[in-house]
């Protein structure tokens, strides 16, 4: 089981690395933010897998905090950083 947890965590990290492409490519600001959201969910899963592998309860708390805080960043994005003259940064 240990091996499966670690391998899956590695697999999810690879997934996350692939999602990086969308952050870099955009094209809009919302696309970048969306990819960051993917990182949040994936990181929660990785943390839970590592927690199970290490038998550590504290890491589950960290995953809980992650799940809560990812929403705060996203709301900050929608309410603040997303200016009304959007879709200017097409590169």
């Amino acid at each position: 089981m240990q091996l499966l947890y670690i391998t899956l965590a590695l697999f999810l990290l690879v997934n996350l690395a692939a999602g990086m492409w969308r952050v870099l490519r955009g094209p809009g600001v919302a696309d970048r933010m969306l990819a960051a959201q993917l990182f949040g969910t994936t990181a929660v899963a990785i943390l839970l897998l590592l927690a199970e592998a290490a038998g550590s309860n504290a890491l589950r708390d960290a995953a809980l905090v992650f799940a809560l805080l990812a929403a705060v960043t996203a709301v900050a994005f929608v309410k603040r950083a997303w200016s009304m003259q959007e879709e200017r940064d097409v590169d």
């Binding site: 499966l4 969308r22 919302a30 839970l48 309860n57 809980l64 990812a70 879709e87």
Partner: protein, 97 residues
């Protein structure tokens, strides 16, 4: 027996995560990507959590896992709505074939 179901659920979860990432990379516009990510990833996380909860040492540990999933679902759904609505208000057009 429990191990078998755990492994099955974990692998299924990983598959959904993969699908979510593929959707994020391949789909043509913001709304379809939003759809891919929010649904696939949250189901993937749910399956993984179900697999891990089977292995949990106590009921409270399993409960915490389920709580995490509930929170991710709630936050994911709300944020997806906020982003999609914001994009519409800002005039991002949905993709057409």
């Amino acid at each position: 027996m429990i191990d078998f179901f755990s492994i099955l659920l974990l692998l299924a979860g990983a598959l959904f995560f993969l699908a979510g990432t593929v959707g994020l990379l391949r789909f043509p516009d913001l709304y379809t990507r939003l759809h891919a990510l929010t649904k696939a990833d949250n189901v993937g996380l749910g399956l993984m959590i179900a697999g891990l909860a089977l292995q949990a040492e106590s009921l409270s540990a399993a409960g915490k896992l389920v709580l995490i999933w509930g929170l991710v679902l709630l936050a994911g759904a709300s944020v997806a709505y906020l982003i999609a609505r914001g994009a519409l208000l800002r005039g991002v057009l949905p993709w057409k074939r």
